[in-house]
Amino acid sequence: MTEQAAGKPEDFTQAYTLAMAHLMQAGIESMRSSDILGAIADTDVEIAETPADIIYQQDKVTVSRYRPLTDVNPNIAPVLIVYGLFGRQTMIDLQEDRSMVRNLLMAGLDVHVLDWGNPTRADQFITLDDLIDIYLRDAVVDLKTRSGMPINLFGICEGGTLCASLAALSPELLSSLALAITPIDFDGDPDNYWQGEGFLNQWLQNMRAEDITDLVDTHGNLPGAFSGAMFSALTPITSMTKYNLGLQALAGNRDKILNFLRMEKWIADRPDHPGAAAKQWFNDLYRENKLMKGAFQVEGQTVDLKKIKCPVLNIYALQDHIVPVSTSKALSTFIPKSRYKEIGFPGGHVGVFVSSKAQGVVAGGLVDWLKSNQKEA
C-alpha cells in the first residue's frame, strides 16, 4: 500500500468493511463449490466413454476401433489417432459434448486410436526408433492390411512428430497426414515469442545433454510427475490459483465443476515416458533440433520431411504456450503448397480438443479436409 493508502482510520474501516463483504461473497461461492465437490465421487468423473474395442496389440501398445455412431463412409480410409507419451489419448474424448472422437464418428469416419500403454522401468530402453519404426509402423501396417488401403494418420503433439517421421520414412503407408499442436522446428522463433510462450524450448536448450541423460538414467524413465511439474511451472499463477480462486469462480455450478474435474483426471493420469526415448526427444530434438536440420535418424535412416508424399493438414493453437506456433508452422517449408493446409485455432494447447469452439473449428475442419482429399483422389 502507498502512504496515501495508510489514510485516515475511517477510510481504513470503510475499506475493511468492503473487503469483508467481498470475502463473505467469495466465501459463499467457495462453499457452494465445496458442497458440490463433496457430493462428487471419483467414479462420477468419467472420461473417454465412447465405446471402443481393441483390435491390435504389441507389447503394451494397443489400437482400438471406436464403435460407429452412424453409417461409416466407405470412401474415406480409416483414421488412426496417435497421441504423444507425455499425456494420454483420453484427451480426444474427454466428455460427450466435447469429444473430437464423437465428432469424427458422427461424420461417418472409421476412427481408431493408438494407446502407448503405461510404461514402467521395464520399458526404459525403448527408443524413439522403436516407437516410430516398430510400434507405430506395425500398427499402421496392421490397419492398412485390415482396410486394404493406405490410412489417414492423425498425430497429436509428440505423437505428431512421430507420425511425421513415419510418413517421411514410409510414405506408401498413408493416404493423408494430419497433425495437431506438433513441434517440428524445436528452436522456434524465440525473438518473437509472446510472454510465456516457448518456455519448454528455452529451458531445455539451457540444460546440458549430460544433465538430461543423468536425470533420466537416475529414474530409468522420465517420471510423469516430473513432466507434470514442468507443465505446471509454465503457467505459474494459473497453477497456483486453480484449486482456490479457480474453484471459487465456479460458484457451485455442477457442470462446470465436473468439466474441471474431468480435466484434472486427465492431468493426473500422466504416464512415465520411456527413458531412452525421452533422452532422444530432449537432446536430439529439443536441444539439437535434428529433425529440422535433416539430421534425425530412425534405425540408421535419415528422416527427410520432404519425402512426405500425401496431403498434410497442420493444426496449431495460436495461444499454445507448450508448442509455439512457429515450431509447428515450420512443417510448411517441407511440403509443397498444393498438398499443405493449415488451421490456426484461436486457443491454447489443450483447448484444441476440449473447448466447445474447437469441436467445430478443429474436428469440423479435419472432417472437411478428409472429405475434400477423398474427392480429389
Binding site: Q14, F125, N206
Partner: protein, 249 residues
C-alpha cells in the same frame, strides 16, 4: 666489610642483574614478536579455528555453554548448529572444503572407510541447499517487483470503491506478468538447471545407498534388474527382426 654488608651487597647485585636480564629478555621477546610472532599452541590454534567455523554458521554459539546449566542462553544456537538448512547460508565454503577433504582420502584395499561417500553426499546436500536458495532468491525478486507494481497502482483509496475483485485481479495480473517475465531470464534458467542437477545427484546417491542395503539383504538390486531388462529388450528386438526377415523371405 662486615659479612652482613657483603651479603646485602651481593643480593642487591643479584637482583639488579636479574632485573636487567628480565628487562633484556622482555625487550628481546617484544622485538622478536614484532618481526616474527610467536607460534600458538597447536591445540589452542585448532580450537580457535573450530570456534570461528562454528560461529560462522551459528553466530549465537557460546563455547562455554557446556559449563552452564541447561545450555544457558545458547541452547537454540547449539541446536541451530545441527540444523543443516542453515549451513549452506553461513559457511558454504568452509563446509565444502571439509567435505572435499573427506572425499579425497585415498582408498585403502583392506580398510573400510565410509567417509568419502559421506563427504560426497554432504557436498550434494550442500549443492541442493544452495541451489534451492538461489532459486528462491530469483523467484523472490519477481514477487517483490510484482508487489511494487501492484502497490503503486492500488491504494486503500481505490479499495474504498469496493472493487476488491478488481484489486485481486490486478494483483494476479502483476504477479503473473512478473513470474512469466523472470522465467525467461538466464538467471532463472541457470537456477532451475542447478536445482534439477542437484536433485538428480541426491536421488542418485539415495539409489546407491539403497543398492548397498539390497546387496547386504540378498535382494536383487536395481542395476541387476536393469541389466536383465536390457537383455530382454535386446532379445525381443532381435526376435522381432528375425521374424520380419523370415516373413520377407
Amino acid at each position: 666489610m662486615a659479612e652482613n654488608d657483603f651479603e646485602k651487597m651481593m643480593k642487591l647485585w643479584a637482583s639488579g642483574s636479574e632485573a636487567f636480564m628480565k628487562a633484556q629478555a622482555d625487550m628481546v621477546e617484544k622485538f622478536g614478536e614484532s618481526i616474527a610472532p610467536k607460534p600458538k599452541d597447536p591445540f589452542e590454534e585448532s580450537m580457535e579455528a573450530w570456534q570461528n567455523f562454528i560461529k560462522s554458521w551459528a553466530p549465537g554459539w557460546d563455547p562455554s555453554l557446556f559449563t552452564k546449566p541447561g545450555f544457558g542462553g545458547s541452547r537454540d544456537a547449539y541446536f541451530a548448529m545441527f540444523d543443516t538448512s542453515t549451513w549452506a547460508t553461513h559457511a558454504p565454503d568452509q563446509l565444502r572444503s571439509i567435505f572435499q577433504s573427506m572425499t579425497n582420502i585415498p582408498k585403502l584395499a583392506d580398510f573400510y572407510n565410509p567417509s568419502p561417500q559421506l563427504g560426497a553426499q554432504w557436498q550434494e546436500v550442500l549443492d541442493f541447499q544452495q541451489a534451492t536458495q538461489k532459486f528462491g532468491t530469483v523467484m523472490q525478486s519477481a514477487w517483490q517487483r510484482a508487489y511494487g507494481r501492484f502497490s503503486q497502482k492500488y491504494s486503500l483509496d481505490d479499495l474504498k470503491s469496493g472493487d476488491v475483485k478488481g484489486a485481486l485481479d490486478a494483483w494476479l495480473k502483476a504477479a503473473n506478468e512478473e513470474l512469466l517475465d523472470i522465467q525467461s531470464t538466464q538467471a532463472f534458467m541457470d537456477a532451475q538447471r542447478a536445482m534439477i542437477v542437484a536433485t538428480t545427484q541426491l536421488t542418485k546417491r539415495q539409489a546407491e545407498w539403497a543398492e548397498s542395503w539390497a546387496e547386504k539383504l540378498q535382494l536383487p538390486t536395481r542395476t541387476e534388474i536393469d541389466d536383465l531388462t536390457k537383455t530382454v529388450y535386446e532379445l525381443k528386438k532381435e526376435i522381432r527382426n528375425l521374424k520380419k526377415e523370415l516373413k520377407g523371405t
